[in-house]
C-alpha cells in the first residue's frame, strides 16, 4: 500500500500509476515535478544523504497515512544527474474520497521540499554551475501543515 523509493534511475510514471492503481481507488490525486530548463539549464544534480533521505520520506509517508484514510500512497524521488523534462518527484495518493487524496498529495509535496535531505546543483549551457539556495516560500508552505 505504501511505496517509497529514492532512486537514481528515471521514474517510469506510467508504470508507477499502473502499480499504484492496481485494485482501483475512488479518488487518486497526483503530483509530478519535472526539471525545468529555465535560463539554459542543462543539468540538475540532486545530492542526498542516503540514510536521512530514506528515513525522511518514509516518515513523511507514514505521517500522511496516519492523518488521512488512504488506500494507497506512492512517493518516489529521483537523485543524481537529471536533464530538463526529467521527472524529479512523483506523489500519488488514493482514497475512497477526494478530499483525503487531495490533501495528502498536497501535504506530501509541500513537506518534501523541506523535510528531505536533498541539495540541488544547477549546470547551465554557458558553463555556470551553482548550488541552489534555500527558498523562503518552501518553508512557509511546509509550515502550513502543523502535525
Amino acid at each position: 500500500m505504501i511505496r517509497v523509493l529514492v532512486q537514481p534511475d528515471a521514474i517510469d510514471v506510467t508504470a508507477e500509476f499502473d502499480l499504484h492503481d492496481a485494485g482501483g481507488h475512488g479518488a487518486s490525486a497526483s503530483f509530478i515535478g519535472r526539471v525545468r530548463g529555465d535560463d539554459g539549464l542543462t543539468e540538475l544534480f540532486l545530492e542526498h544523504h542516503p540514510a536521512m533521505t530514506g528515513a525522511g520520506l518514509a516518515a513523511l509517508a507514514h505521517a500522511a497515512a496516519d492523518r488521512w484514510k488512504l488506500s494507497a500512497l506512492t512517493l518516489i524521488h529521483r537523485v543524481g544527474a537529471m536533464a530538463p523534462g526529467d521527472t524529479i518527484v512523483l506523489v500519488l495518493a488514493s482514497s475512497a474520497h477526494r478530499a483525503e487524496a487531495l490533501a495528502a498529495s498536497e501535504f506530501l509535496i509541500d513537506r518534501l521540499k523541506t523535510d528531505v535531505m536533498l541539495w540541488k546543483r544547477e549546470t547551465f549551457g554557458d558553463g555556470r554551475v551553482g548550488w541552489v539556495e534555500e527558498r523562503e516560500g518552501d518553508q512557509a508552505r511546509a509550515e502550513r501543515w502543523s502535525l
Binding site: 515535478g33 545530492e47 544523504h49 540514510a51 536521512m52 528515513a55 524521488h77 524529479i88 518527484v89 509535496i109 518534501l112 521540499k113 523541506t114 523535510d115 528531505v116 535531505m117 536533498l118 541539495w119 540541488k120 546543483r121 548550488w131 541552489v132 539556495e133 534555500e134 527558498r135 518552501d138
Partner: protein, 84 residues
C-alpha cells in the same frame, strides 16, 4: 574517532565526502566542531567561514549548534536543504 560527512558545497569545499577525525577533547559540541574545522586548514576555512549557514545532523537526526558530540558516531555537515 568521529565520522564526519560533508554534503553539497561543504563537500566541494572540503574536497572529500567524508573523513574520520580525532577531535580534541575540548571540542564538545557542534559549534566547537565547526570552529575547529574552520581553523584546521584552508579548505576548512573556506567551508566553515559562515557557520550560521551550516546545518548539522548527528547519527541521522538534525541538531542545533549546542548539541554535544559525546556518543556521536557520525556528524553530517551541510547547507540548508533545497528540496524536493
Amino acid at each position: 574517532m568521529l565520522e564526519i560527512a560533508y554534503f553539497s558545497w561543504v563537500r566541494e569545499r572540503m574536497g572529500v565526502a567524508g573523513e574520520a577525525v580525532e577531535v580534541p577533547a575540548d571540542v564538545a559540541d557542534v559549534a566547537a566542531l565547526l570552529a575547529w574545522l574552520g581553523a584546521r586548514d584552508e579548505r576548512g576555512a573556506l567551508a566553515f567561514a559562515e557557520p550560521h549557514r551550516i546545518r548539522a545532523a548527528i547519527d541521522g537526526a538534525m541538531m542545533g549548534p549546542d548539541a554535544p558530540l559525546s556518543g556521536a558516531r557520525e556528524v553530517a555537515l551541510f547547507p540548508p536543504v533545497t528540496g524536493g
